[in-house]
Every structure is written in structure tokens, then in C-alpha cells.
């Protein structure tokens, strides 16, 4: 009797150690994500800001002021190199802006339609379509922009007005990026619009509002901060979008606001530079890390603002 009792205790203790071990392993899995962030920051800083050893980091050779305000981007080694990120910055924002012009009305319209108008059956049919649109790889959108939208839609349309369109242009790249982020805006805004309490809608209907009044004057204003958060998230996604822009937007780092010409974005520069064959510690290679930091900081900032707005919105209604 006594013996079996000690045995039970022993086995329980084994269990307890066993469980502790498993829990620590699972904790390590979860902590890996923090390690990933730390690694990203270390790698970017370690090559752009301060490099240990004899390697010289990017900002040890180019001043931050020069990098942020320079209007020429010519990433070559030697004295001819110019590292001002304004051209890449303007290219990136052109694409993201065009993408917003396309995706904001489409995404918001779709969100309002699906939450306020569509019957459940119709919604069940529309949601997967938007999911498919979001699931198509970026390379495919790039091909679509370069080989279809530019030559078959934009060129004839702009030709009628007498405008010249380059083979590579930010307009087509922006349009496809807009199509890519539309589902994101639609689904996030729809969630937000749905969480607006019914009582607000019912009160408005009771006062004799039409559906338009309810949607545009009651529900959307009530959900506005959440919708804004969705727009911001889509904007940051558009800034980080790579393959579509690389394929359709061209590779000339020119500071231009003309969407009919090609321009290089931060992401397409990174792809372009990594396919080149410069030495690993050359400044042209290091510039990838500097642009990487800029991209990381910009997208992270926008995401954090968006998350903060969304949390405040939830506090109001939930």
C-alpha cells in the first residue's frame, strides 16, 4: 500500500518535470518571434548604422542628412556614387498614392455594400472572391500590369488624350497594387462597419432616413476611425509591395511626380541591387540595408498608428 503510494508520487513528479520541459519548449517557440524582430533590427543597424570590425557601415560613409535630403540616387562604388533617397521615396509614395486612389473607393464601397446591402447569400459569394483576389501572388499582378494594363488599357486610353506612356510606369504599378490591397480595406472596413451598434442604424431609420443616409451619414461616420485604420494599413502594405512594382514600375531612380514614367521604389531598388554582383561590403550593397531601415521604420510607424486608432475605436464600441 505504502509502496504504491510512493510510486504514484514519483510518477507525478516525473510528470511535473516532463510538463515543465514541454512548457519551456513551447515558450521558446513563442519567444522566437521576438528573436526574429531583434535579428531584423540588429542586421539592419549592424550594416547601416554601425558595423563592428573593419567593415564600414553605410551611415559611416554617407551622412544621414545627405541620405534623407539628397535628390540623386546613383548607388555605385567610388566617388561617382550619390545616395540621396528622395527619388526612391517619391517613387514609393507615388505608387502607394495611386494604389490608395484605386483601393480606397473600391474597398470602402465593397465594405458598405457587403455589410449594409448584400443578402447573406450574396455576401457568401462575394467574400471568397475578394479572398482570391488577395491570394494571387504579387508577381502575377506585375505581369498583368506590364503586359496587359499598360499596353491594352492605359496606352490606348491615354493615347486618345494625346499623352505618352512609358513601357514602365508608376501608374500601372499603382493600379495593380491598389487592386491587391482592395480586399484588405474591404474586409477590415467591413469588420469595423459591422461592429457599429444596430441601435444607431435603427434610430436613423426611425427618423425617416434612407439607406444612403444611414450608410453615409450614420454608419460610416461612426466607423470612421476604424476605416481610417484600414486605409493606413493598406497604405503601409502598398509601400512594402515589391514584385508588382519591380516588374511594372521600371528601374530608373528619378525624382518625378509624373505617373506616366517609370520610377524606382525603395523595394524595387532592393531587388535590383541584390541581383547585381557588387561585393558584400561595398557601399552599393550596404545601401540596401539603409533603404531597408527606411522601409522598416516607415511601415512600422504606419502600422503602429493604425493599430492605435483601431484599439481606440474598439474601446468606443465594445
Amino acid at each position: 500500500m505504502a509502496r504504491s503510494k510512493t510510486q504514484a508520487w514519483a510518477s507525478q513528479r516525473v510528470f511535473r518535470y516532463h510538463e515543465k520541459l514541454i512548457q519551456s519548449v513551447l515558450f521558446l517557440c513563442a519567444a522566437l518571434s521576438v528573436l526574429t524582430t531583434a535579428a531584423i533590427i540588429m542586421v539592419l543597424l549592424g550594416n547601416a548604422v554601425y558595423a563592428p570590425g573593419e567593415k564600414k557601415a553605410f551611415f559611416e560613409q554617407v551622412s544621414l542628412w545627405q541620405f534623407l535630403t539628397g535628390t540623386h540616387w546613383k548607388p555605385v562604388d567610388g566617388p561617382a556614387g550619390r545616395f540621396g533617397m528622395i527619388p526612391l521615396f517619391s517613387g514609393t509614395f507615388m505608387v502607394a498614392l495611386i494604389a490608395s486612389v484605386v483601393s480606397v473607393p473600391l474597398g470602402l464601397g465593397a465594405a458598405i455594400y457587403m455589410s449594409e446591402y448584400a443578402a447573406p447569400r450574396e455576401r457568401e459569394f462575394l467574400k471568397p472572391i475578394l479572398e482570391v483576389l488577395a491570394g494571387i501572388p504579387s508577381v502575377i499582378y506585375g505581369f498583368f500590369a506590364l503586359k496587359f494594363i499598360t499596353p491594352w488599357i492605359l496606352k490606348p486610353a491615354l493615347g486618345l488624350v494625346g499623352l505618352e506612356l512609358g513601357t514602365f510606369n508608376t501608374l500601372s504599378a499603382g493600379i495593380v497594387v491598389g487592386i491587391m490591397v482592395t480586399p484588405l480595406i474591404a474586409s477590415l472596413s467591413e469588420d469595423v462597419i459591422r461592429s457599429v451598434p444596430r441601435s444607431l442604424r435603427e434610430a436613423a431609420y426611425a427618423l425617416g432616413s434612407t439607406r444612403f443616409d444611414v450608410s453615409a451619414r450614420v454608419v460610416v461616420p461612426a466607423a470612421l476611425s476604424g476605416i481610417l485604420a484600414a486605409f493606413l494599413l493598406a497604405f503601409s502594405r502598398a509601400i512594402g509591395e515589391t514584385m508588382a512594382v519591380v516588374i511594372a514600375g521600371g528601374q530608373q531612380p528619378i525624382a518625378t511626380l509624373n505617373p506616366l514614367r517609370g520610377a524606382q521604389t525603395m523595394t524595387s531598388f532592393m531587388v535590383h541591387a541584390s541581383t547585381g554582383d557588387s561585393a558584400a561590403d561595398s557601399i552599393s550593397r550596404m545601401s540596401i540595408y539603409a533603404i531597408g531601415i527606411a522601409l522598416f521604420v516607415i511601415t512600422l510607424t504606419i502600422n503602429l498608428i493604425s493599430g492605435w486608432i483601431l484599439r481606440r475605436f474598439r474601446e468606443v464600441y465594445q
Binding site: L106, I112, S215, G240, M270
Partner: protein, 347 residues
Amino acid sequence: MSIPNTAAMPTVSFISGADGRIRRRLLMSRVFAWTCRFATYSALAVLIVLLVAIVYSSVGRLSPDFVTNTNSTNPVKAGMLAGLWGSFWLILFTSLFSVPVGVGSAVYLEEIAKENFLVRIIKVNLANLAGVPSIVYGILGYTVFRTSAATLSIWFDGNHAFGVLGLFRVRLAKLPIYEDNILVGALTLTLVILPTVIAASQEALRSVPSSIRVASLALGATRWQTIWRQVIPAALPGISTGVILSTSRAIGEAAPLIMLGALSYTTMCPGNIDSPVKLLTRPTQVLHAPLDQFTAMPIEIYDWSKQPKPEFTEVAASGIVVLLVVLLAINSLAMIVRHYASRRLKW
């Protein structure tokens, strides 16, 4: 735009002048409804135009030999075999890495962790990682994984030996390790999809009713026994759907892989395995494959899209059709899993 149907409209005329105003407001309402409907259905229209345009451009090149040839500078001979095999190996290892870590993290965060400072940091950090552009992971992969692989390839070039405790020397075998190998690519893709895998698994775990946990604990099961034998099996359909969908995202991902190096110039299948039969009959080549150079489907499509020769448009379009078919197959698999699981499990 449809003209408002006056017969169906309420005629409110007890206030003079209100009739016209109400009619205007109802018209406005309809215009708005049609605008929103137009916005929604334009998504469907874009999808159809995209698919038609791509399938139309692929006609003339898409043939069985497109999936049996490897890449070539001649557009008539260029095929996607190497990309298909490259993507296969990549996805195999990406899932092998991301599933245990992703599900493990989700189990920790949902089932074990108490709300404390560290856990909050992990959660906030995961939310932010999901928003990091995938190309940034490419930089990380290039700097950390590729450099490690380069170091390993020097150690294993057949000329390196290490003294062990001054007693004897161990000569490292000669292993063909490439800098930009499958494992480097798979590790990079794992980091890209990990936040998605974790979020999907958390969602699945959350949908398991707590009565199951309570019942299991009440019967004397330990916490881990409860998780392993009750919670995870119950959440498995949701977890596998999420994992399959994230994997399909990894298949189409090109940017982080391009950052790893000049992958598009590879025309060989990893480990020289170019047919499923060889997976069984050539064990040494199978072992070499993970450390071999590779190319992947989206990279080949990118490569063909930027070729100046117009014939490559057809080749790129054919590549896209193959990629879309693969994605469709994977997504159908996810749907089948969801369907069968929802039929079996009900609470």
C-alpha cells in the same frame, strides 16, 4: 442607373414640397447603392479579366513539355520543371519548420501563458511582424542564413580538419553545400509566414470550447495531456486549414527569395531529382537536394516577365497558369479539409 419606380415609392404629400425632396432622396439612395454594388462587382470583373488575359496569353506555349523542360534562353524550349521542383522542396521544408514552431507558439500563447509583461510583448511583437514587408525578411535571410551557409560550405569543402582535444583530428567530409540553398530559402520563407501560421492556429485553438478542457482536467489529466489529447485534435482542422493557406502564400512569394541571390539562373532541379520516381530510387540525391541551389516558380515568372523578347510573354503567362493551378489545388485541399472536419466535429 435605374429610374426610381414611382409606384413602389411611398407617396407622402401632407407637407407641400416634400414629395420632390423625398423622391430626390430616394434617388440618391439608389445611386449610392448602385455605386457600392459597382465597386464590389468590379473586383469580380478584375479577377475575370486577369484570368482571361493570362490564359489567353498562354495559349500557344502552354503544353505538356512546358512542365517537363527546364528553363532555357530559347523561349520555345523554356519550361518550368526546375521551378516546380524548387517550389516543392521549399514548401516541404517551410512547412516542416513553420508548423511545429507556429503551432507551438500558438499553444503557448493560448493555453499556457498567463497574461504578463513578457507575453504581452510577444503578442504585440507578433502583430507588428505580420506587417513587416516580406522583402525585409529577405535581407535578414541574406545576411544571416546565407552567410551561415557560406561558412558551412567552406568548412565542408573537403580540406578542413579540426583537432579534437589535441588527441586526434577530424577531417570534415566534402559536401556540396551552396550558399543559396533550399534550406536557406525555406528558413527565410518560414519567418515570412510564421506570424500568419501562429495567428491562424491561435484562432483555431480559441474556437475549441472550454468545456472540453475543463472536462479533461476534471478527469485528472494534466495540462499537457489535455492540450495534446483533447485541445489540439479538436483544433486540428482549423490549424491545418490555416497552415495550408499560409503555405500557399509562401509558394507565390518571390521578393524574399530574390534577395537571397541570383536564383533565376539555376536551371537544375535540386539534387538533380526531376521525377517523383527518383525521390524513391536516388536516396543520396534526395539527401543532397536540401543543400542544393534552386529556383522557384514565382522567380522564373519574374525572370520571364522582364525578358525583352516578346515570345517570353507567352512563357511567363504559361508559368503563371501553372502556378495558379498549383495554388488552386492547394486551396481546394484546404477547403476539403474544412468541409470534412466541419461535418465530423460539432458542438
